[in-house]
Symmetry: none
Subunit: 409 residues, 2 copies
C-alpha cells in the first residue's frame, strides 16, 4: 500500500492539468470525534455543514489513519503524516517542537531543548518540578538573566521563554549532536541528573559536557531566585533532517497557520510560512492574497482540537460550522484539488488526541466520486477511498493535480 | 498500516479509563463462513444472534485478515496474529504445536518433534506411513516402551502419545537447536531419511547426530512390533521465543480454552492459563470467577471450527447461537473493550480453514459506532473498521482501553 517518498520524488512533475494543478490541504486539527451519548452523532455529524457536504457529494471520501491503527499521534507526527512523511521514520524531538512553538527559526546546526524552571532545597534536591508554576513574566525575566549571564564559548545560545516555568534553550554552532539523556528525574526528592550521551559518538559526549557546563552556570545564576532556583533540560534534539517538501513534490508550497508550532513543522519540512492574523478568517484572507504565488497551500484550523481538548462538544461543533462557511471562499479560488481532513481525532468525550481514523474528503476535477453525500465519520466509512495512512494523502493529492508521472513504461 | 510490536511496548501504559480498562477477546474458532447455496446466508448470518447483533449495533465492526490476503492460516499463526504478533515473523514449529496440543509444558531449551509410527518392510522401506492407523492405546503403549527403553546421554527425553499413530518427542538439555530436516520421505517404497542439519551451525550438526542415534535405538525397540515397527520425526522445533504478551502490553493476561493447543499457544506468549471445564459454559464460569484478577481475557470457543471442519453448516449455526447466549454474561462483567472475532474462517462448504476475512466486532465506551446493526460477513464489510490485519487488533483493543500513550509530542 505504502510508497516511499523517494519514489514520489522521482515521479513528481509540473501539473499536466489545464487549471494549473493547485492543491489546498485544509487541516481541521483534531477533526475526528465521538458521540457524547450512545448512538448519537459525532461533533462533525452534529455540525450543520452544507458546504462540506456538497464537497463530499461532488468528491470522494474516506478515513485517514494518522500513524497506524490504535496509535494516537502528537501534533508533530500527525502533521508529518499529512505532508507525506513516514512519522515512524522522522521524529521531531520535544526540544525542536518547543522551539518551533515560539516561532524560533531553527537552523540545521541548532540543538534545542525544552527547559523547565524548578525549585530545589538546600541539598539541591528537587522539591517542585514546576517551580510553583511561576507567572510567565517571571519566567521571561529569568530567561533574560540566563541569556545575559551564561555562555558557551565558541557557541551562540538563545534562552527564550515559552509560558510559566517553561522555556527553550537553543545552542548554535558546529559539532553538536542529539542522543542525550534528560536532566529531569521526573520525581521530587532527588537532584537533577547530569546529561549523559546515549550513544558511543564522541560528539555526543562533547555535547553533553558543553550542556552540563552551561547547566552549572545557569544554576549559579538562579541560586538566589525564589522559587525558580534551578532548572531541567528535556527532549534535547536537532532538526531531524526531513527531506524538503518543495523539492520532493516540485511544488511551491505555503503554510498558513495561526499557531506557531504548525508553522514551525511546515517550515521544518521546507514550506514557506506566510504571516497571517489571529483568526481563521484572516487565514482565508492570507490564502486569497497569495493564491497566485504558490502551487500548494497547507491551511491549518486549530480550534477544532482546542475545543475537543476542552471537552466542549458544542463548541467544537461551532468551530466546524465556522470552517464550513469558509469553504465557499476556497472553492471560489478554483483549486485543482481540495482536501479537507484532520491530523488526528480529538473527541470532546475523551478531551485528548485519539487514535480514531479521521474523516477526509477530496474534491477536484479528476476525483472519482463515490456514493457519500455528507461529510462525517459514519459516512466516510463508506467512502470511495476506504482507509489509508495519512502519509498516502500527498501522493493521492499530487496524482489528482496531474503532478505525478506514470510509473514504469 | 502495520506497526512493530516494539513500538506498542513503548506506548503501553496502565489504563487511563475510569472503568479500569479490562479487555475481553472472545475468539470463535473458524468463525467466518460461506453460503452453502448461491446467494444464501453464511453460518453466522443464518444464526439467530440477538446479543451479537446488539453489540454490533452499539459498537463497530470490520473484517480481519488473519495473515495476508489469500492466506489460510493454521491455528498457530491464526492466534499469533490475534495476540498482536506478526505470524510471518514468529513461527511455531509443528513439533512445538503438537507438544502444546497435549498440554506439555515446553521449556525454552526443549526441542520438540512430532512423531509418526509407521510400518516398514524387511528392507526398511516404508509401506504404511501411518502404521495402519493403530488404536490410540497401542500408540500409548509404544510410547511407554520408547520412554523406558531409549535415552540420550546427558539429556532428558519425553515420549508422549497424541492420538493413534501420532506422538511427541521432547528432548530437554543444553545446546539443542532447530533447523533440521525431517525423516519422513512423504511417500512409501523408500526408507526413512536421516535427520540433517539445514544450517552451518555446528550445534545443528550435533543435534542431528543425537536425534539420529535416538532414532536408531527407537527402531531397535520397535523392530518386533507390528504393524508399528518404525517411526518418523517431523517438524523438529524449539519455542520460537515470542516476546512476552504480559510485558509488551503491561496487562495481566489470562487464557481460557477447552482445547490444550490454544492454552499452549497462549502460554507460549506468556499468558496465564486458567483451568476450566470441558464445555463452553464452564469457560464462562471461569471468566466470571477470575474477573477481578486480570486485565485481559482470551476466551476460546472451539466448536465453530470443529463443525465447520465436519462440513456441518447447521451444527456450526447452533454453536454460534450458543455462544451468542453467553454474550450477556460477558456484558454483565462490564469490560471496557469486548472484541468478538475468529482466528480464521472455516466454512462448512469447504470443510477446512480458509483465507476469507473474519467478521469482527468491537464494543466499548470509547468505540466510534458505525452504521452496521447486525453481526455477519456482509454487514461487517460495511463496518467502521474496514479491513485490517489480525495483528492490528491488539493495538486497537489497547487504544480503546486507554492503554496506549500518545506517540510523539
Amino acid at each position: 500500500m505504502e510508497i516511499d517518498i523517494e519514489i514520489i520524488r522521482k515521479l513528481a512533475q509540473p501539473s499536466t492539468l489545464p487549471d494549473g494543478g493547485k492543491i489546498v490541504l485544509a487541516v481541521l486539527d483534531g477533526l475526528g470525534g465521538l458521540p457524547i451519548e450512545p448512538g448519537g452523532p459525532t461533533e462533525l455529524e452534529a455540525a450543520r455543514t452544507p458546504n462540506l457536504d456538497q464537497l463530499a457529494k461532488e468528491g470522494t471520501t474516506g478515513l485517514s489513519i494518522p500513524i497506524a491503527r490504535g496509535i494516537s499521534p502528537g501534533s508533530g507526527p500527525g502533521h508529518l503524516g499529512l505532508f507525506g512523511y513516514d512519522p515512524l521514520r522522522y521524529e521531531i524531538g520535544r526540544g525542536v517542537l518547543e522551539a518551533l512553538g515560539i516561532d524560533f527559526e531553527l537552523g540545521p546546526d541548532d540543538l534545542a531543548a525544552r527547559g523547565n524552571f524548578c525549585t530545589v532545597d538546600e541539598e539541591g534536591r528537587i522539591v517542585d518540578r514546576r517551580a510553583g508554576r511561576i507567572p510567565t513574566e517571571v519566567g521571561a525575566r529569568l530567561c533574560e538573566r540566563l541569556q545575559k549571564e551564561t555562555s558557551i564559548p565558541g557557541y551562540e545560545i538563545f534562552v527564550r521563554p515559552v509560558k510559566e516555568y517553561r522555556f527553550v534553550l537553543v545552542v548554535r554552532g558546529p559539532g553538536l549532536v542529539d542522543g542525550l539523556s534528560e536532566t529531569d528525574p521526573q520525581r521530587t526528592g532527588v537532584p537533577p541528573l547530569p546529561i549523559k550521551p546515549l550513544t558511543d559518538d564522541p560528539a555526543a559526549a562533547r555535547t553533553a559536557e558543553l550542556l552540563n557546563d552551561w547547566l552549572e552556570q545557569a544554576r549559579r545564576v538562579l541560586a538566589n531566585e525564589h522559587p525558580a532556583n534551578s532548572l531541567n533540560l528535556r527532549g534535547i534534539a536537532k532538526d531531524p533532517g526531513i527531506p524538503n517538501f518543495q523539492e520532493i513534490y516540485q511544488l511551491k508550497a505555503a503554510a498558513i497557520a495561526v499557531y506557531p508550532m504548525y508553522r514551525g513543522v511546515a517550515r521544518l519540512c521546507g514550506m514557506q510560512v506566510l504571516s497571517t492574523g489571529e483568526t481563521m478568517a484572516s487565514e482565508l484572507d492570507t490564502l486569497e492574497q497569495h493564491w497566485d504565488d504558490f502551487d500548494f497551500f497547507f491551511i491549518h484550523f486549530k480550534y477544532t482540537d482546542s475545543r475537543g481538548e476542552d471537552g466542549d462538544f458544542d463548541a467544537k461543533v461551532k468551530v466546524i460550522e465556522e470552517v464550513d462557511g469558509y469553504m465557499s471562499r476556497i472553492r471560489a479560488l478554483k483549486p485543482s484539488v481540495l482536501i479537507v481532513t484532520g491530523d488526528h481525532s480529538t473527541p470532546a468525550l475523551l478531551r485528548s488526541h485519539s487514535w480514531h481514523p479521521v474523516p477526509l474528503l477530496m474534491w477536484g476535477t479528476t476525483v472519482r466520486p463515490d456514493d457519500v453525500t455528507t461529510f462525517g465519520e459514519r459516512a466516510c466509512a463508506h467512502g470511495g477511498l476506504g482507509r489509508f495512512l495519512a502519509k498516502e494523502i500527498m501522493p493521492m493529492a499530487m496524482a489528482h493535480a496531474g503532478r505525478l508521472a506514470k510509473f514504469g513504461a
